[in-house]
Symmetry: C2
Subunit: 154 residues, 2 copies
């Protein structure tokens, strides 16, 4: 895992995305497709998860699904209206559907997923009140994914 | 819960759907939106679940997601290619996305969901190898849903 400290301003989108990126790196080191997620609620981190589909033998164990479950458990509420999800890769359709049900306030993602990203299907998968920002730390995230798949092929 | 025995021929789609319907009835009795699911693998039941979003305070705890997790755990495999999911209500986008990742062989559902069913968005949400059958025990399932929402409103 990268040992560099988080140099981004506290509470910035880059700061939280860097934490999600550390989770993604930990996933890669565990042989998982590297995706990491953080959920904040009023600037407080309430969930920090990574893709665990291999470890849990469960296709539903994407970072986002695990983060939604953990955040709702922390808040004692099914709904995440005041929360922001930071996730390194664009959510897939399953995760976007889960985010719809959670009514999450805001989604920030890093790299677009040109194969399985929800936006390929329709922008309407998300809740109408959810706002989306993308491209945060994209070069670092794309590099991590590239390295991971390159290593798989060798 | 209905005490009537399952009168459908063993191994028929109606037989398994009746079991899913019992799960849906149990969900209704627990105050959950009544949806039940069964997964079979070569005619053997390997998962039987119901919607537990209220009980678990978790929007991702739909019957289908819980069934996929349970079935994969039973088989020790992430993929459910030789399995059939029986679910009383048409899967939502989240569940259809989860079923895509599971590469499930076959989906049988009862009632269509005219508000949040995956087919409203696109048929392409599911895996290209997954086959779908619908309408099994639809009248009983629709009646259960109607009764549940009527009771909520009174």
């Amino acid at each position: 895992m990268t040992e560099v400290r988080n140099m981004y301003p506290l509470f910035s989108d880059e700061y939280y995305m860097q934490l999600a990126l550390y989770e993604a790196e930990a996933a890669a080191n565990a042989g998982e497709i590297p995706v990491g997620a953080v959920i904040t609620c009023r600037q407080r981190i309430i969930a920090k998860t990574r893709n665990q589909t291999e470890q849990l033998t469960d296709v539903t164990a994407h970072a986002e699904v695990l983060a939604i479950t953990a955040a709702a458990d922390y808040l004692g509420s099914k709904y995440l209206k005041d929360c922001t999800l930071y996730v390194t890769l664009e959510p897939c359709v399953m995760c976007a559907g889960a985010l719809y049900w959670s009514q999450i306030g805001r989604i920030v993602f890093g790299a677009s997923d040109e194969k399985r990203g929800y936006s390929l299907l329709s922008q309407n998968v998300l809740h109408p009140k959810t706002t989306v920002k993308k491209g945060i730390l994209e070069p670092e995230i794309t590099q991590l994914l590239k390295n991971f798949f390159q290593r798989l092929r060798t």
